[in-house]
Subunit: 307 residues, 2 copies
């Protein structure tokens, strides 16, 4: 598989895949951007969608009426009921991807994280993964974690390393270059995160994360700009050419996410990982394009996990 | 004073100021970019420079030979001696700004932070302040701290708030809007930084930081993009229109700095603050333009502190 380096290629790859379409459970598609994203995924032929709605939800707006013949609709009393039922259907193998519409994230997550009826197996780490398309850059940039784990433990960082490596490979990046981000290049007990990074690099050397190259601690610029890395005298294969970044904590990850979308016009796709199926949890301020890209990313990752 | 919204205006303001030129002590100007920055500051008429060099330092290159009549040179045996002597001269009131050339930052800082002979009064907080010129943005963006304090205490955050407010006002921003950055808008004990922020906002309301508006916790995008703030329903005067950002820790600040320079072609100026005189400590990878902008920023701040 040749690598997928932009969202347009991602969509055409999904649409041209002769395998069965990905089955998506959409909770409360009561906002325009979610409906637009769902309509496009159906039109593009890569998703079959079931909508979990509450009475009065105008799910037929924004192009969905024309696609009604291809849509299943389940009506529940409340958004919480809709979330629980959608999760139950994913658990039962009736859907491959869960997507949030206009429901409070905390309410959806309560159903997703329910210990007996949810989607997170015991001991698994829930994290968030973003793929970013940056104007002027010739490939996607993956990163973790801008949204879920405030301050990762060593075990959580190892889980993030797995998720990021797996996601890159599902996009056809045969041997992803993954940069472990820190403000300096020094490994020092003064910054415990750098000790976690050293452990990850050792594990990577032992093949624990599959085919992938990890490097760091390294700063964002040295990871993404070969000239900056050269000035610092850095030579790791990750330098200047990273496919993915793992941030030390949610503050750093969130600053990267918000800075790139605010100042660099980056388009993002994001999904929760660690669950038995990808869970798309866009934020209110995400555009229809971002919600659609997130859904497409989740569909690809679901197919890759199945293969 | 009308506000200074870009580095070109900063330089013309400095050059047209009829007050005495700012006296700059330059330690080891043995690299091209430092010499170019110094040459331009002298040519533009806003700085008088004393160079602290070691034997063999080719300080006359890069345009400085032509300016030799306007330059004082002090030759010392070692870079450490040069650093100590430059610091001593600043202490003695013979220079207003200290600037690092090709000397290890740690070595320069050892002289700057020396308890009896340095530039940091007892009890003062050393921090780093950046001013950033972003293509497409109509004013500078100030922020703290991308380089010095790993994980600020509450007292260190208060010091940062003072430094940022003072710096903005020295650039003519009468009532700066200062955003306290965090990944969400919630104040919660789960994130102790948000409690520090609440305290800072209360102090700001009591006038502790002079004329300035503080807001937060808020994310980078809501602070800098009015539309993103509106979607989130935020209404503080800081939203979408921040003059300055204070980051929760060095990881977040450094990610912002590196992301903006790597992906957004931002031009930065930076200086250490908290010392009795601004200390310009560029990094090796800074361009001549960045070193010059840093020197100009430090000169302005020195003049503002004197007035």
């Amino acid at each position: 598989m040749t690598p997928i380096h932009d969202f347009e290629t991602l969509v055409s790859r999904l649409s041209s895949d002769n395998a069965a379409r990905t089955r998506v459970a959409v909770v409360c598609p009561a906002d325009e951007h979610t409906r637009q994203a769902v309509a496009r995924a159906i039109s593009d032929g890569f998703a079959d969608c079931t909508l979990y709605v509450t009475p009065g939800c105008d799910w037929q707006a924004d192009g969905l009426a024309e696609l009604a013949g291809k849509i299943s609709v389940v009506t529940l009393d409340t958004p919480d009921d809709a979330a629980r039922r959608a999760v139950a259907d994913v658990r039962a193998g009736l859907a491959d991807v869960l997507m949030k519409g206009l429901i409070n994230t905390d309410n959806l997550l309560r159903a997703v994280l329910d210990k007996t009826a949810g989607l997170l197996p015991p001991g698994r780490v829930l994290s968030h993964l973003t793929a970013m398309q940056v104007p002027g850059r010739d490939k996607l940039l993956f990163f973790s974690d801008a949204a879920v784990i405030p301050s990762p433990t060593a075990a959580q960082r190892i889980a993030q390393a797995h998720y990021v490596a797996d996601a890159c490979r599902s996009f056809g990046i045969d041997e992803p270059r993954i940069a472990l981000i820190h403000c300096t290049e020094k490994t020092s007990p003064k910054f415990p995160v750098t000790l976690d990074y050293a452990d990850i690099i050792q594990r990577a050397g032992n093949g624990e994360f599959g085919k992938a190259v990890f490097g760091g601690p390294i700063d964002v610029k040295a990871a993404c700009d070969a000239e900056a890395a050269a000035i610092k005298g850095l030579t790791s294969p990750v330098c200047g050419n990273a496919d993915a970044l793992i941030f030390p904590d949610i503050e750093a990850g969130n600053v990267f996410y918000k800075t790139m979308t605010c100042f660099c016009h980056a388009l993002t796709a994001g999904t929760l990982v660690g669950t038995t199926a990808p869970v798309v949890v866009p934020s209110r301020s995400d555009s229809a394009a971002a919600k659609f890209a997130s859904l497409a990313m989740a569909c690809l990752m679901s197919r890759a996990a199945r293969d």
